[in-house]
Structure formats: structure tokens, C-alpha cells
């Protein structure tokens, strides 16, 4: 009886040890948490951080690398250099460019015999300056594409649902701010190269003589010419009553442009994705940025100074020399 009781007691006392032996101790093998060498970036409206912004980039490149293609959802996988601890990326739109440097370190993630061990990128930091240490976030420079860049998740994994870096863009509120379509033109003295005031009988869009933009009552050195259509507009500068008068001189200013340029508003710094840009001049069916005309013309020289249409008169789009 005593033997049986003691035997039962000892066997039961060893039971916890057996339970431990049959209990597995293994790290779960989760493919989504496996490391990756691609950080996931996404673009958001600063004023509405929950909505992703679909920017029409001309190109996104790792600095020194080939062009990257965004995913169908607008997000982009940013390849990180394994052999270095910093990778730079350039973002080029039709009107603005920006550069971000991502700093990181690597660790070895041990998953166990089934999943192995992988190199994992951790401690992501971002900066504008390649010589500065990466930070959890940074504010963009004035006039830059990105208002700020923020690290959301500092560990890079194969899970493409969790973003690593958010690029916040200050999209202009359409209710309070609209994009400028007025071409800024400044007159210059051909000899002194200084701005000068000029007076014209009429400045109008070609074919709209009866609806002049400026008349002889106006005398300015800088004028604003409203662009029409989405591709090109021809303005006429006239000195004299009408074309029938042999003393009347008329000269055309033909500009080409697009209305799909990303620009930073001069006054507020917010971003328009439908700005006017790629401004060029056209003369005798030749497109260019600089043209020379004969001495008997009103303007002997025309040149494009700023390719995007904005609001700061100190940076004219076209300089006309007389």
C-alpha cells in the first residue's frame, strides 16, 4: 500500500517535467514578417493625412540607380542598399524635384530552423542632407515638393500593407486657393538690362482686339497676361491705332505650356498638381526659350526666364527687351 502511494506520488511529481518536454518552443514562421530590403513609401496630403495622393511623377530614382515604378496603389517600394547604411532617392515631377536620404542599420532576425535567419533593416531615419544623421521626420525646404517626410515604421518587412515612410505634400485647398494662369511678363531696357515701363495702344489675345488686356492708359514694367486654352496662347502687342495704319507696329508673343505641372505656390507654399509649366516661346514655328528680332520690331529680344506660371512678379516668365 505504501509502495503504491509513493509510486503514484513520484510519478505525479514528474508530470510537470513531461508537460514541459512535449511543449514546443519555436518562433512562428510568418512570411509577412520576414525581412525585406525594400522600404515602403506612400504619398499623402498633409491637410488630409488619411487620403493618399496620386502624384504623376516624371521619375523616381534611387540616386545612381534606374527609374522606379510606383505600385498600382500609388505607393512605392524603395530599394535599400545592403552594403551601405544610407540610400538616397530623388523624386521628379514636371515642376518640382525633391530628394530624401534614408539612413538605417541592419540586424539579424532569427526565425528558427524552419524559417532561417535573415538580415533585417531597422532604425530607419530620413533627412534632406546626406551628411546629416537620419531622423524620425524632417520638414521640407520652402518650395520643395514634400512638406515633411515621416518614418512610420522603422523596421522593414515583406509586408507591403504597412508603410515605412510617408511623404506628406501640402496640397492647396481648392476652396481658398486656385492656381494662377497669368503669364508674368516684364519689360527690360535692351541697353541697360534694367526693367522699364512701356505703354502700348493695346495688348490683347490674338483675335480679341476688341477686348484688350491693357490699353494706352496703362504703363507698367510688369504685366500679367491670362493664358487661354491648355497648350498655347498668342498675345499681340500693338503700337498704333489699327493694322490699316502704316505706322502701326504689332508684334506677337506666342507661348506654349501645359496645365499639368506640379508647382509650389509662391505665396503659401502649398502644392498645385495642375499648375501651368513648361513655358516656351514659339516664333516662325520654331519653339525655344530665346529669340532675337530685327531692330524695327517692338521687342528685339524675347526670353523665357521661369518655366512655371506662379504669382511672384520678381520672377517673370518672359522677359521682353526693347
Amino acid at each position: 500500500m505504501n509502495f503504491k502511494n509513493n509510486l503514484r506520488r513520484y510519478v505525479w511529481s514528474f508530470l510537470p517535467l513531461f508537460i514541459f518536454l512535449v511543449t514546443p518552443s519555436c518562433r512562428d514562421c510568418d512570411a509577412y514578417s520576414n525581412p525585406s530590403s525594400y522600404a515602403l513609401g506612400a504619398f499623402y496630403d498633409k491637410n488630409n493625412p488619411t487620403s493618399a495622393v496620386n502624384i504623376d511623377f516624371e521619375s523616381i530614382n534611387g540616386i545612381g540607380g534606374a527609374e522606379l515604378s510606383p505600385m498600382s496603389n500609388g505607393k512605392i517600394l524603395l530599394p535599400l542598399k545592403v552594403t551601405e547604411r544610407q540610400t538616397g532617392f530623388s523624386f521628379i515631377t514636371s515642376g518640382l524635384t525633391d530628394t530624401t536620404y534614408i539612413d538605417y542599420s541592419t540586424t539579424v532576425k532569427v526565425n528558427g530552423p524552419d524559417c532561417g535567419a535573415f538580415e533585417q533593416f531597422t532604425g530607419l531615419g530620413v533627412s534632406r542632407d546626406p551628411n546629416a544623421a537620419g531622423q524620425p521626420s524632417y520638414s521640407g525646404a520652402t518650395g520643395a515638393l514634400f512638406d515633411s517626410v515621416v518614418v512610420i515604421s522603422s523596421t522593414v518587412s515583406a509586408d507591403t500593407a504597412n508603410e515605412n515612410i510617408q511623404f506628406l505634400i501640402d496640397i492647396c485647398d481648392a476652396n481658398t486657393k486656385t492656381v494662377s494662369r497669368n503669364l508674368i511678363v516684364t519689360f527690360y531696357d535692351l541697353q541697360t538690362n534694367n526693367p522699364r515701363e512701356l505703354q502700348f495702344t493695346s495688348i490683347h489675345v490674338k483675335g480679341k482686339d476688341a477686348d484688350p488686356i491693357y490699353t494706352d492708359a496703362d504703363k507698367f514694367s510688369t504685366i500679367y497676361l491670362p493664358l487661354e486654352s491648355n497648350t498655347e496662347t498668342i498675345f499681340e502687342f500693338r503700337i498704333g491705332e489699327d493694322d490699316s495704319d502704316p505706322n502701326t507696329i504689332t508684334q506677337e508673343l506666342k507661348v506654349r505650356f501645359n496645365n499639368s505641372t506640379v508647382i509650389s505656390d509662391d505665396e503659401t507654399g502649398c502644392i498645385f498638381t495642375n499648375g501651368t509649366g513648361s513655358v516656351t516661346l514659339v516664333s516662325n514655328n520654331i519653339e525655344g526659350d530665346d529669340f532675337i528680332f530685327t531692330k524695327d520690331s517692338i521687342f528685339q529680344k524675347m526670353s523665357v526666364d521661369r518655366k512655371t506660371v506662379n504669382t511672384n512678379p520678381n520672377f517673370p516668365n518672359v522677359k521682353l527687351y526693347n
Binding site: 510537470p16 532576425k109 530552423p113
Partner: protein
């Protein structure tokens, strides 16, 4: 023979445990037989705990007589069977511990433990994974015996301990590279020396008398990380903490065999009363 034992390590360890049990039982039975030869104990006594309270000078309140300040009722040494059995049953693992405690008034246990672990995890199939952790740990603390009047070899205790582990770890790992930058996948190796972590343990432990002075001590320790600094390699196996699954805490199991040195308890002399 050795290959046979290696092949059936788990079965062997179970048989070994049962063998130890039977030895204890046999010894107990032999002890009982001797006692039966001397005196005829009734059946009720035979079922009682044979390691019941030893003759102890008690006062009217049932407390040990003496100075009343410090009574060492026992010193025990032992080892944790868990790492030993794991060493037998698992490939590329060597681990052991040394445990000791001082029993004060059979109420408080001042405990200390030192251990060593050398563990390698590898994948035979793919040969791209190899992780090794080698180091030692110590833990010390205080346990309170909730059954102090029951027996000097049995008890139910709760306690708080501090543990510290220092170890080296290394890993062969897979680097995916990045094709965009013309970097191909490679196998790399990394080592880290003197990684130090520490943690606290809340312990619940049941001590069960097996034989004269021999006690089975099994229970659970709820471990809470105190300082686990970031390391370049995942701290997959930590001496003393064992498998580390990135959680803030872990429930660890222990099964120790303890032996109480028979020289104790030590009784202190009663103080002369002042007039």
C-alpha cells in the same frame, strides 16, 4: 550503444526519470522495512509524510525557541532537471544549473542559482541557418513558505528574484541583397560578445519531499524583462531565460531536485533573562 542512446534520447531520459523514481521508491521501501522491523507502525502512520517536522524547540506561540532573531533551519543544494533533460533530448544543447538556498525558520528561503547554457540551432536540410548562444546566468532572491509548519522538506512558496544573464551569440544568416543595386543574395555571419540582459521573476513553487532530505521543487516563474538592450542578432536563446519570443514576459518552468544538508538545523542558545 552510444548511438542507440543518442537516437532515443527522449525515451532514454524518460526511462532515466522513472529509474530515478524507482530508486527513490526502493530506498523509501527499504527504509520503511527497517522501521517495520524495529517497531510495528500502524497503517495510518505509514501513509503520513515521513519528512514531517523534526524535533524543534518551540515556545508557547509555536515559534522556534532561541534568540528569536535568526534561526537557520536548513541549507539545500540541487540542480534543475529541465536543462539537464533538454541537454539529453535535444541536439547541440548543453545546459546545467547549480542551486542553493538557506532556509530561515523554514519560512524564508534565500535562494541563489548559477547556470550555463551552450545551445546551437541549425537547419540540417537547408544548411543556411545556424544560431549559437553560449553563456551563463545567475539569479537570486527570496521565497516565502506558505506551509512552514508542515515540514522542512515540503512546502509551497512564493517569491521574487532577480536574474542576470551574460552570453555570446552568433548566427549564419541569409542576406537577400537588392537586385536594384546589383547586390546579390549572400550568406553572412555575425557574432556578438557579452550580451547582458536581466529580468525579474515572480515564483510559485511547490516543494515535495521525496526521501530523507531529498526534495522535488517544481513550479513556475513569471519572468518580466528588466533590461533587454537591442542587439544586432535576435536574442533567440538566453541562458536562464531560455527561448526568447520577443514578448515582454515569459512563463518559465523549473523542476529541481534539492538535497538538504543533514547537519542543520542550527539552534541558537536561549538568551539569559534580565532581572
Amino acid at each position: 550503444m552510444l548511438s542507440y542512446i543518442t537516437r532515443y534520447k527522449i525515451i532514454f531520459s524518460l526511462l532515466l526519470s522513472l529509474f530515478l523514481c524507482s530508486l527513490v521508491v526502493d530506498a523509501q521501501t527499504l527504509d520503511d522495512d527497517i522501521e517495520q522491523g524495529e517497531t510495528m507502525a500502524d497503517s495510518l502512520d505509514a501513509e503520513q509524510d515521513t519528512t514531517a517536522v523534526e524535533p524543534w524547540p518551540l515556545n508557547k506561540k509555536g515559534e522556534p525557541k532561541g534568540s528569536g532573531y535568526f534561526v537557520v533551519s536548513g541549507i539545500r543544494f540541487g540542480t534543475d532537471l529541465r536543462p539537464l533533460v533538454s541537454s539529453l533530448s535535444e541536439k547541440d544543447m548543453t545546459a546545467y544549473t547549480f542551486y542553493g538556498d538557506v532556509m530561515i525558520r523554514n519560512q524564508w528561503y534565500v535562494t541563489a542559482e548559477y547556470g550555463y547554457m551552450d545551445r546551437t540551432r541549425s537547419s540540417v536540410e537547408t544548411n543556411v541557418f545556424n544560431y549559437q548562444s553560449t553563456g551563463s546566468f545567475y539569479r537570486f532572491g527570496l521565497e516565502y513558505n506558505l506551509m512552514r509548519k508542515a515540514s522542512v522538506d515540503s512546502g509551497l512558496s512564493i517569491g521574487l528574484k532577480y536574474a542576470n544573464s551574460t552570453f555570446d551569440q552568433s548566427a549564419d544568416y541569409y542576406s537577400t541583397g537588392n537586385g536594384y543595386w546589383g547586390e546579390g543574395a549572400t550568406l553572412k555571419s555575425l557574432s556578438e560578445k557579452n550580451v547582458n540582459v536581466d529580468w525579474f521573476e515572480f515564483v510559485v513553487s511547490l516543494k515535495l519531499a521525496l526521501w530523507k532530505g531529498l526534495t522535488a521543487d517544481f513550479g513556475f516563474a513569471y519572468n518580466i524583462k528588466k533590461d533587454f538592450p537591442a542587439t544586432a542578432i535576435t536574442k533567440n536563446d538566453i541562458p536562464g531565460w531560455y527561448f526568447n519570443k520577443d514578448d515582454r514576459s515569459r512563463l518559465n518552468f523549473h523542476y529541481r531536485l534539492l538535497y538538504r544538508i543533514p547537519l542543520l538545523p542550527l539552534y541558537t542558545q536561549e538568551r539569559p533573562r534580565r532581572r
